[in-house]
Amino acid sequence: MYINFRHLFFSLISASILSACGGPDTAEIEAPAIDNEQEVQDYYAANPDFFSFKNISDLPTDLVWENGMHLNELGSEQATKGGTEYYQIQDFPRTLRRVGPDSNGSFRPWINDYTSLGLAHRHPDKFEFFPALAESWALDPENKTVYVKLNPDARWSDGVPVTTDDMFFMFFFYQSDYIVAPWYKNWYSSQYTNITRYDDLTFSITTPQFKPNGGSNVIGLGPVPRHFYRELGDDYVDRYQWRFQPTTGPYIVRKKDIVKGSSIVLTRLDDWWAKDNKFFKNRYNVDRIQLNVIRDTAKAFEAFKKGDIDQARLNLAEFWYDKLPNSDSDVQNGYIHKSLFYNQRPRPTYGLWMNTSKALLDNLDVRIGIQHATNWQLVIAKYFRGDYSRMQTSSDGYGEFSHPTLKAREFDIDKALEHFAKAGFIERDANGVLINADGQKLAFTLSTGYTNMQDILTILKEEALKAGLEFRVEVLDGTAGWKKVQEKQHDIHFAALNVGLEMAPRFWETYHSDNAYDDAFLEDGSVNPDRKLKMQTNNLEAMTHFEMDGLIERYRASSDKEEMKALAYKMTEIHHDYASFVPGFYQAFFRIGHWRWLRYPEFFNHKHASMARQYHVHWLDLEMREETLAAQKAGKTFAPVIRTYDQFR
């Protein structure tokens, strides 16, 4: 679960990922041996400002050490260990590497995000940090430095102790070109300025700015096993394709459990070093997690209904209400439980992203008209059956950092027509689409990479026509859709950017002109006539706003929480006025169906959880499984359990 910035903050939420089977793993056998020890040492020596070596006696003595041990335990005391859980994945992973090509797919959480340990983690109830690999840490805001003492018990899954060397090597690893991961190289080179070794278990890391977020950029890091990557070289991508990196977490993947194209198994370590740790002892309870590839969602649900899979997500209304209604016999007989849990966390930004570099969309009135011509209320009420909520700004769910009063523009045909008229669109053609004096139609391509949400777009299309706006719906597969927006080829795109559990929203990536054009503005703030559109950035709206740029830079450099809040509000307002993003919807909960024997704590889950199994607090009750299967045969029933957990609503 340690923070992997790229995944959490920048990746598109993947609705459908292209299938792929594994490639040959011959490289592992034939590749010549490499030992990069000398190269690594030379790299440290060549960058003495970044990599410093000191003695433990040099450690400042006035540091205030924290360890987060006062936070409450996670999971339930009742949890028992054991059993095999069966679960569905949509695609077989294309690699077991954690970084590099194809590694940022839907399999990541299984071997990385949700099952690996960082130095410390955000507590999912209290938002403070609780210790994982670190025993304690100390912040030194003045010097923008965080000091960390590693837990002496911390071990890699192959028994090797976790030491400062692994933290040093982490920088070598992510800064190298071998891993073919430009984002990592940029982040680990630009967001950190120094790492200093005091002894095997003590080190400090310095950052260019010190954010008021409790040192999150440092203690969210996770080490990289030095001993495993001795063969790191130009052939990294092939050589490590199917090697499972030793983990600090509880689950390993054994070679014999990789059945390419069909299933993969995570196996729990019996002697995991953190198994008695306060924050881990009640989690990761299942002995084996067998992940079966079932590509078709409808088929996966049938497998769940049959009991071949222990739990299934029922977020979509059609599953919750129609395919597994409360009146279903398995639910009524108490074999399958239904649980609905309200969570609190930053919300993925589902909405329409307008490319303001395109003709017509560069007109503010057209954009505001589109905002009023987009009927999200109807989609939420009729398609999502009122379960989802309207997103108000592009940074909802950040608590006090989210704008308290700003509301998204409502569907209003008159207002839409009024703004379209201002932009010169007054007449309607034979089909009711607005045209301007030049005969140009008010029509845009509305694309998406979410094949399972195409119905939403057809609803929006029908509604927009009432306001004289034509949407031409284009449904692409996930990869093609993402490529389209990254190359800024879209008119209007329906997508969401995933967001991590962070204190404050980010603005630079999505709204700074640096990410829209090369040299967007001249010195005096006027638009540079020769500017060129920039590809492969997340400013999907090609938004350029001179004042916004300045605010974003102040916001990034700020270390004062109140100032940051004020700036965030101001920027959210500017973005609202710029009207290039139509906020869509968010889901304030998650809901699942699970067989009776797959049990969750009494409180079900933690406040900031994004999905039921994120913190692995569930467990298998093997006796209950026997009992349930026997009861099913004998026709015996139990009391139905359909629960709503609204303590964090």
Partner: protein
């Protein structure tokens, strides 16, 4: 008409199964040609303040034309109720099925499949976003039929021309074209369609995109026809009447199209219905996979896909789409069999 042909046609009429299937299909095509009068959310006729309106094939009428306070397309079903309630003598006549294939119309306030109901006039129920299944089936079938007929015409035009030319000219020309066709027909059709269709920008109007899909499918399907035409032409070419035509001085194109072609017609005609069957299957399969006609064009494949995903909760989706497809393909196949039989010169031949 050639007495031979008349004889063949008479024989076709005698094969009842094929003949009635043929009448049925022709009827279906005729009905679908005037489909807007039968299945539509635009009224057939509106009588408002003494004037008569026929909105079916005209430009759209904003609600304000009929005293409703909005500038977008009139909701005629609503208008009908308004007029009835007002009782001023104005009236609206709606088509048999008062729904369009694209509009979401839910009776419960949420979009989900609803079972068939004569009372709500959803005779085959609604799909997952509350669109009328009958309307979608109807227009989907119409598009599939038109598409497959256009497909057949093009495939035959190209296949006949090139096949005849190969057979007629023979020699190096034949040799080169045969090799080209062998190479060409080895390109996997389905993948190519998928690739080509995924790069067509959505800025093109839907009709353009359908035309492109058609072109791609034709490009990969004409080769099969050339083999038959080539051998048939080879056979005919060596006959005396061709030699005679050449001596008289007829041009190549005249010989091919006036002399050879009518004589190989029977081969051609027997293939036609089966080409249509394969075109309907192909377009349905592509839609089912999500690579066919652009969203939200109504189509059989798309309905089948929805149906299989909601097999337990909304069986009426898959049933109606499946039955339509079965009926359509069976009818065309019956016609094909009848045509083949009636054009078979060996009706009374007995093998010993």
């Amino acid at each position: 008409m050639n007495p031979q042909t008349i004889k063949k046609l008479r024989r076709f009429r005698e094969i009842k199964r094929g003949y009635y299937s043929f009448l049925f299909l022709v009827g279906l095509i005729l009905i679908s040609a005037i489909g807007e009068l039968l299945v539509n959310n635009r009224a057939l006729m509106v009588s408002y303040e003494g004037s008569w309106y026929f909105p079916t094939y005209s430009d759209f009428h904003p609600g304000s034309d009929f005293g409703l306070g909005y500038g977008y397309e009139t909701d005629y079903r609503e208008l009908q109720k308004v007029f009835k309630a007002a009782g001023t003598g104005d009236f609206v006549i709606m088509p048999l099925v008062p729904f369009d294939a694209l509009e979401n119309n839910s009776s419960t306030g949420i979009y989900k499949p609803e079972a068939p109901s004569a009372e709500r006039e959803h005779y085959l129920g609604t799909d997952t976003t509350s669109r009328d299944i009958l309307a979608r089936l109807f227009y989907g079938t119409r598009i599939a039929l038109l598409f497959s007929i256009a497909f057949m015409v093009w495939v035959y035009a190209i296949g006949i021309t090139i096949g005849c030319a190969m057979g007629y000219f023979g020699g190096v020309f034949d040799l080169i074209f045969q090799r080209l066709i062998e190479i060409w027909s080895n390109i996997p059709f389905l993948y190519t369609v998928i690739i080509v269709f995924s790069v067509i920008p959505a800025t093109f109007a839907n009709s353009t995109r359908i035309a492109i899909l058609l072109t791609v499918m034709v490009l990969f399907s004409w080769t099969g026809m050339t083999y038959y035409m080539r051998t048939e032409t080879y056979k005919e070419k060596s006959r005396d009447y061709i030699a005679a035509a050449r001596i008289i001085g007829a041009s190549h194109s005249r010989i091919i199209f006036k002399h050879v072609l009518p004589n190989v017609m029977s081969t051609l005609v027997t293939f036609m219905p089966f080409t249509i069957v394969s075109a309907i299957s192909a377009i349905t399969a592509l839609d089912f996979l999500g690579f066919g006609l652009p969203v939200p064009t109504p189509s059989l494949g798309e309905l089948l896909k929805q149906g299989t995903a909601n097999l337990r909760t909304a069986p009426w989706i898959v049933t109606s789409a499946f039955l339509t497809l079965v009926v359509l393909l069976t009818v065309v196949t019956f016609i094909g069999e009848a045509v083949r039989e009636s054009f078979d010169p060996k009706k009374f031949t007995v093998y010993k």
